[in-house]
């Protein structure tokens, strides 16, 4: 069992970020609750969104918003987006694309989660620029791996 660390240290989730802000997107309330706990246990600040449209709005990329620097300023900057693949309306893949197509958010790492291990799906997401693909249900060990992976990619 991992004890959550409340001290600010260089054991941050991502290099140089002490309390990374993660946006978690999932249409399942249960899964949102789970992932929030998994992430806060590793000293992350978490915002959840129940669908792609809300996620884009939060990132300042919504339809009604201008794709400008000012939009992502009201909340602390998002360091990572983790999203479910299968969602009604906009899928995680479509959300990934929109993020990667934007000028302000394209550098933010995006992780896709899915309960289904479909190689085509995984390849498609990785090709579109997803940092990682993770199989649900997620465990604390998965989030830890995510941390190490992202720290290495940041160097």
């Amino acid at each position: 069992m991992e004890a959550s660390s409340s001290s600010s240290s260089s054991k941050g989730f991502m290099a140089n970020v002490e309390q990374p802000h993660v946006l978690a997107v999932d249409d399942s309330l249960i899964d949102r609750k789970l992932i929030e706990k998994l992430l806060t246990n590793l000293s992350c600040k978490v915002t959840t969104a129940e669908n792609g449209a809300r996620a884009l709005e939060f990132l300042g990329l919504g339809d009604q918003q201008h794709n400008s620097l000012e939009s992502n300023v009201s909340n602390s900057k998002v360091n990572l987006v983790i999203t479910d693949y299968c969602m009604p309306g906009m899928t995680g893949y479509e959300l990934l694309k929109k993020i990667k197509e934007s000028s302000i958010m394209k550098e933010v790492p995006v992780v896709i989660m899915s309960s289904e291990n479909v190689p085509n799906r995984i390849d498609k997401c990785l090709e579109e620029g997803a940092q990682m693909f993770m199989l649900k249900p997620l465990r604390q060990s998965d989030i830890k791996k995510l941390r190490y992976h992202l720290m290495n990619c940041n160097s």
């Binding site: 959550s4 399942s28 249960i30 609750k33």
Partner: protein, 154 residues
């Protein structure tokens, strides 16, 4: 019953739920996530699952009663149910959902109707078991004891 006895009963009951396949390792993960800052985490998540499931079962039953069954819709509900049961570690419910999806793919109404019954059956079973477990936890805490940490290897 004194606290030590209740705690042993809790351990035995929990172990039996794993051995009989009602729960899998994901439930352990939930228990491990419970801590002082979230002392009711497991009950909260499982309660959400119960609420979600009742609704899904209603939706499924209704969808299969339609004159023309929309199998895509049925499959979407089953997919959701499979996801939520998997997330809390309700293994038998999850497995029943996996079987269910095959019948959806085949557009087999009779098979689907049987599957709803099967999923319902497994759901009510695990619900009752978890409620028993939580009641035992309440008793232990009311008597001033704490819930033991499980050490099971998966």
């Amino acid at each position: 019953m004194e606290v030590g006895q209740m705690q042993r009963q809790w351990v035995d009951y929990t172990k039996s739920l794993f051995l009989e396949g009602f729960l899998d390792g994901q439930f352990l993960q939930l228990q491990q996530l419970q801590d002082e800052s979230n002392p009711d985490f497991v009950v909260e998540v499982v309660s959400l699952f119960f609420e979600d499931s009742e609704k899904l079962l209603n939706d499924l039953t209704r969808a299969l009663e339609q004159p023309t069954v929309d199998f895509k819709r049925v499959d979407a509900h089953v997919h959701q149910f499979k996801g939520s049961s998997s997330s809390i570690g309700a293994q038998r419910v999850k497995n029943a959902c996996i079987a269910f999806r095959n019948f959806c793919e085949e557009k087999n109404t009779e098979g689907c109707v049987r599957c709803v019954q099967q999923v319902k059956h497994e759901y009510y079973l695990v619900k009752s078991k978890l409620e028993t477990l939580f009641a035992l936890e309440q008793q232990i805490m009311a008597a001033g004891g704490s819930i033991p940490m499980l050490e099971l290897n998966f």
